[in-house]
């Protein structure tokens, strides 16, 4: 009798053990965490972006069976755009999956700042496509930060180049008044040093005008703009701040075609709430704009036709959706590149960093991926973590975005000294010994 009881106990223990160990992940999976915000004050912009990210990873799994056979495992974590929640999400997700997080996209400049030091210790690359800290372009100091496809300093330079072109030359900038209406957070403040450098160089009068989070209260700012009558207003807003800015501009009769938003101020949710008042509003493009390309056909075929999409089919091809997709694609390509060196298996963050630092997307490769027309060639290296500095200008005509300019390239000779200066300060503060990029392979 006693032995029966003992056997039962052993069996129960074995079952309990099996039950506990059952959810162990399959070994051939690459874990990619997704920090997103589908709730909170910035949800209108956060949700389409997150949908694009999720759809692209799912497409890789559905169409290709993963990256060279390594399935992508994703988990989303809601940050609500709050920095401390972002840190919590990062800690929760960083060591999931067989090899831990491949990389992290914080999707918030504030969270990027908070995570910069942690990710370097944990050896997980932090990809901040088109946002983040501009000085982290310097890979020698910021070994794990990748502000891919453009920083706010590049954006500021491109915006001024466009203004100069519209005025008829850089010499025409002299004596002009340009205001920056910015979100009062690290995100909005980031372009200021670059614009100050540009103002000094070209002799225009630069006025920064802050708007407090979340940005619905802008009456006094627009009063100041009405009094000062700047020739151009650059808009560095996010979420509801952008549409409010357009409405307020209409209220004080400031011409919308003299407003130029950064690429985070130029998506559909920014202009549609302002209705007809938004017609004429311009914004920079982070290479891609709205519209469907070859890759969207695959997404429709492999995901939406099977009911596996994450948004309404009508929203595919919106600007933020496309940006999320592009962001995910760059990560996937980095993993693919790293697999060439480390083998076709799940990789650690450190290995993926090598992939990022050696990632070169040629025009042919971009075409192969179905991103032709959305992206120009990208080439990332140890010393240049930005990879590309292109931009265009688009204009909202009341119904859709129209590209109205040629390509601009940010002026390296102006940005580089500022990057060197600010990143050297960071290195000194944190006692970081900059890497010697010439010696790295």
């Amino acid at each position: 009798m006693a032995s029966v009881a003992r056997n039962v106990l052993i069996l129960a223990a074995a079952l309990a053990g099996a039950a506990l160990s059952a959810p162990a992940a399959a070994q051939n999976e690459q874990f990619i965490p997704i920090l997103s915000y589908r709730t909170g004050p910035y949800a209108v912009n956060g949700a389409p972006y997150a949908n694009g990210v999720v759809d692209y990873y799912n497409l890789i799994n559905e169409r290709d069976g993963g990256i060279n056979g390594v399935k992508i495992l994703i988990e989303e974590c809601e940050t609500g755009y709050a920095t401390d929640r972002g840190v919590e999400c990062y800690e929760r997700l960083k060591s999931k999956g067989p090899t831990g997080a491949a990389f992290i996209n914080p999707l918030s400049t504030g969270i990027t700042f908070a995570l910069t030091e942690k990710t370097a210790t944990d050896k997980i690359p932090i990809i901040t496509m088109g946002y983040g800290r501009a000085d982290s372009k310097n890979g020698a100091v910021f070994a794990y930060n990748f502000p891919l496809l453009g920083t706010y300093w590049s954006a500021a330079d491109i915006a001024i180049q466009y203004v100069a072109k519209e005025l008829g030359g850089f010499d025409k900038l002299k004596g002009r008044k340009i205001s920056l209406l910015y979100h009062d957070s690290p995100y909005g403040k980031e372009p200021i040093p670059m614009l100050q450098v540009l103002a000094q160089k070209y002799g225009f009068d630069f006025t920064p005008i802050p708007v407090t989070h979340p940005g619905v209260e802008q009456k006094s700012q627009w009063l100041a703009i009405r009094q000062n009558r700047p020739d151009y207003v650059l808009v560095w807003g996010w979420g509801v701040m952008n549409s409010t800015a357009i409405k307020e501009a209409a209220a004080v009769a400031y011409p919308r075609d003299k407003m130029i938003g950064v690429w985070w101020s130029g998506a559909e949710p920014d202009v549609t709430p302002a209705g007809d008042q938004a017609a004429g509003y311009k914004s920079l493009m982070l290479q891609h704009g709205a519209g469907k390309f070859l890759v969207h056909a695959d997404i429709e075929k492999y995901l939406y036709a099977k009911g596996k999409g994450s948004t309404e089919p009508g929203k595919i091809g919106e600007i933020l959706y496309n940006r999320g997709m592009t962001n995910a694609m760059l990560g996937v390509e980095a993993i693919r590149k790293a697999q060439e060196k480390f083998g076709k298996k799940p990789l650690t963050g450190e290995q993926v960093r090598w992939g990022l630092e050696n990632l070169i997307l040629t025009a042919d490769r971009i075409k192969e991926l179905g991103f032709e027309g959305m992206l120009k060639p990208v080439s990332i290296s140890c010393s240049d973590h930005e990879g590309a500095r292109y931009g265009r200008v688009q204009q909202w005509d009341g119904k859709g975005w129209k590209v109205i300019s040629d390509w601009y390239t940010a002026d390296e000779s102006l940005i580089e000294p500022l990057v060197a200066d600010v990143s050297a300060k960071y290195a000194a503060e944190k006692k970081i010994q900059p890497r010697d990029c010439a010696k790295e392979t």
């Binding site: 959810p23 988990e75 809601e78 400049t109 700042f113 690290p186 944190k430 006692k431």
Partner: protein
């Protein structure tokens, strides 16, 4: 049964005035401190469940300890002295930014006087404590209106502190050492030559601060000063009649409370976030601290810990549980559900026990002491 005082006699005044007069309480506390100081670091360094990853230590325990400390500070002001404050977030920010300035070197150019004040970078430990001191000074300053106004009116006056410092740290580049983005990085945490870097070290550092300050606060509220605060809270006119000076009592409450909150703010910035912007100490933080104190129990040090745990950990748990169970819910739904459940829990709790968790526990203790005689 286990919790009975029979046989525990007090034979002198010292025993009668002990913080924990009951032996079982002392044992329980010793075990708790043992787990916190020895057990957790040991488990974490050998990576034993549930410390297999840094998550529990870094994303749960660290913020819990720091916010509990801030809640103790808020509780001294709101719970013990009855001065409702909505400016706790601002005092955290003052602690954080003053500590940052002191740890990176202060330079005040006084060109019109022909000289400059320059203080070389101070050690981090000194900066954190001095940051608390700066917060205490600001607390006294913003406590002065409390002599004329009270209750909700005072809450609005402290709200002014919140908005003023939010503005100052956002707008005046001097506070952020002219950082281009307005976001500042904490200096390396150097304690007596030892660099605090790993989560375990950070945890122990915070634990040390929290334990020392909680014990100090507990003794303070048991003593002369604490009794003055409570007298003011219960009826300020009666307190004045029996010889308590409201000026002294209220301003000391503001000073002690802001000091503790300031230290917590410095720890939050230096140890937890590492890099921060004023949004980390916004009005939301003030409200959160007030909720912690109300849920945990007004006028209870232990309640501050429980309140902090509830307000901080509950939403995270509600967020994590569906994912861990593998429920196919979108993050959006989970977040909305979390708001609903969390809100209803708070409503339910406040109806069932308006004096917070601390009161619930003391009722339990009383029942145990009388058990099995329910009279």
């Amino acid at each position: 049964m286990l919790y009975r005082e029979a046989g525990q006699f007090k034979t002198n005044y010292a025993e009668d005035m002990a913080i924990f007069p009951i032996r079982q309480d002392r044992i329980a506390l010793a075990i708790l401190l043992g787990i916190a100081f020895i057990g957790v670091p040991l488990l974490a360094s050998f990576r034993i469940w549930p410390f297999r990853t840094d998550y529990l230590l870094w994303a749960i325990l660290l913020p819990f300890l720091i916010l509990a400390l801030a809640a103790i500070g808020t509780n001294i002001l709101v719970g013990y002295c009855g001065q409702i404050s909505l400016g706790s977030g601002a005092f955290m920010a003052i602690g954080a930014y003053s500590a940052y300035k002191l740890a990176t070197g202060v330079h005040i150019p006084l060109a019109w006087l022909g000289f400059a004040i320059a203080i070389p970078p101070l050690p981090v430990l000194a900066s954190i404590l001095l940051g608390g001191l700066m917060a205490a000074c600001a607390g006294i300053l913003f406590g002065i209106p409390s002599l004329r106004i009270k209750g909700l009116y005072l809450a609005v006056a402290t709200l002014a502190a919140q908005f003023f410092f939010d503005w100052a740290f956002l707008r005046l580049p001097w506070f952020t050492n002219y950082a281009p983005s307005g976001s500042v990085n904490a200096p390396e945490l150097d304690f007596f030559g030892m660099i605090v870097r790993t989560p375990v070290e950070r945890y122990l550092l915070c634990l040390l601060f929290v334990t020392v300050m909680a014990v100090l606060a507990k003794n303070l509220v048991r003593g002369n000063l604490g009794r003055q605060w409570m007298a003011i809270r219960d009826m300020d006119i009666a307190a004045e009649l029996i010889g308590i000076r409201p000026l002294y009592a209220k301003l000391t409450a503001f000073a002690v409370s802001s000091f503790i909150i300031g230290v917590a703010g410095a720890l939050w910035a230096f140890v937890y976030l590492g890099s921060w912007e004023p949004l980390a100490f916004s009005i939301d933080r003030s409200l959160e601290l007030l909720f912690m104190v109300i849920i945990g129990g007004l006028g209870s040090i232990m309640g501050s810990f429980i309140g902090a745990a509830f307000i901080l950990i509950m939403p995270i748990m509600l967020n994590v549980i569906p994912t861990e169970l593998g429920l196919p819910l979108s993050t959006q739904t989970i977040t909305h559900l979390q708001f609903i459940i969390f809100g209803s829990l708070i409503c339910y709790l406040l109806i069932k026990e308006p004096h917070g968790f601390a009161r619930l526990i003391s009722i339990g203790k009383e029942k145990l002491r009388l058990w099995p005689f329910p009279y």
